[in-house]
Amino acid sequence: MSKIIDKNVKNGVVVVSTEGYFNKDLGEALKEITDQEIKEGHKNFLINLDQSKIVNSIGASILIEIIEELQVVDGSLNFCNLAPIIAKTFKIMGLTKYCETFDNEEAALQKLA
């Protein structure tokens, strides 16, 4: 139902794609990846939410933990392909003050890579 479907490093940016309901399980799965990649020296992350059309606040709260960890290493958390309701949810929570959002992966990598 909720899973990570892809992880790649593209020009130094770790691109992670998710599928399904972005809930606690998916948030924790994503955090496991970011924790590991930060240990390996990566700082910039792009989360492609094209296949995740719905989120809950518990999953989104885990993103705050990831932002916190990336602030320590002067890294960044970015998103692309957000469904309008996810973009709105992130805005209400203030996540967009700390993360950049992009229309698609290409536009994001052009800026981040």
């Binding site: 139902m1 309901y21 809930n23 719905i54 989120v55 809950n56 606040s57 518990i58 989104a60 709260s61 885990i62 705050i64 933990e65 932002i67 916190e68 602030q71 469904a83 309008p84 309701i85 709105k88 949810t89 209400i92 929570m93 203030g94 996540l95 003050k97 700390y98």
Partner: protein
């Protein structure tokens, strides 16, 4: 007086069961010709209302959801038989306070519900909580 049509749902406290409620709200929203934007906002608010009922009410009993359809709006009642809460004692979260501090990162549900719906009301005591939230059909209502 004509009674408004009502869809009633009973949810057991099982993982991800809030998505069942969103499937129902999607169907009701389509029936009412609500926009996709409004339908998505209702789903998101409903997810948060269900999670609050599942997690914070400390109840082991089923949650009841009523979708009350009228010409002007959709009213949703989420009813639990839990311990209740005082909404006035809850501080609205701010991400600036949560980053780099020990403050817990969660606690966004009520704020999201208030931002996404047109009207929100709570009745709560130690025998349970009824959250009533309304989405108007017209944006300016």
């Amino acid at each position: 007086m004509k009674k408004n049509p009502t869809v009633e749902l009973k949810l057991p406290i099982l993982k991800n069961m809030e998505l069942v409620a969103t499937h129902t709200s999607d169907v009701v929203a389509k029936h009412m010709n609500l926009s996709e934007e409004k339908s998505a906002e209702i789903s998101m608010a409903l997810i948060e209302a269900c999670i609050n009922a599942f997690e914070h009410s400390e109840t082991k009993e089923d949650i009841y959801i009523h979708f009350i359809i009228s010409d002007e709006n959709l009213t949703i009642k989420v009813i639990d038989k839990g311990v209740g809460f005082d909404s006035s004692s809850i501080k609205l979260p701010n991400i600036d306070d949560k980053l780099g501090t020990t403050e817990r990162k969660r606690g966004w549900g009520l704020m999201l519900i208030q931002e996404l719906m047109d009207k929100v009301d709570y009745e709560s005591d130690n025998s349970g909580t009824t959250l009533t939230m309304t989405k108007n059909k017209k944006s300016d209502e």
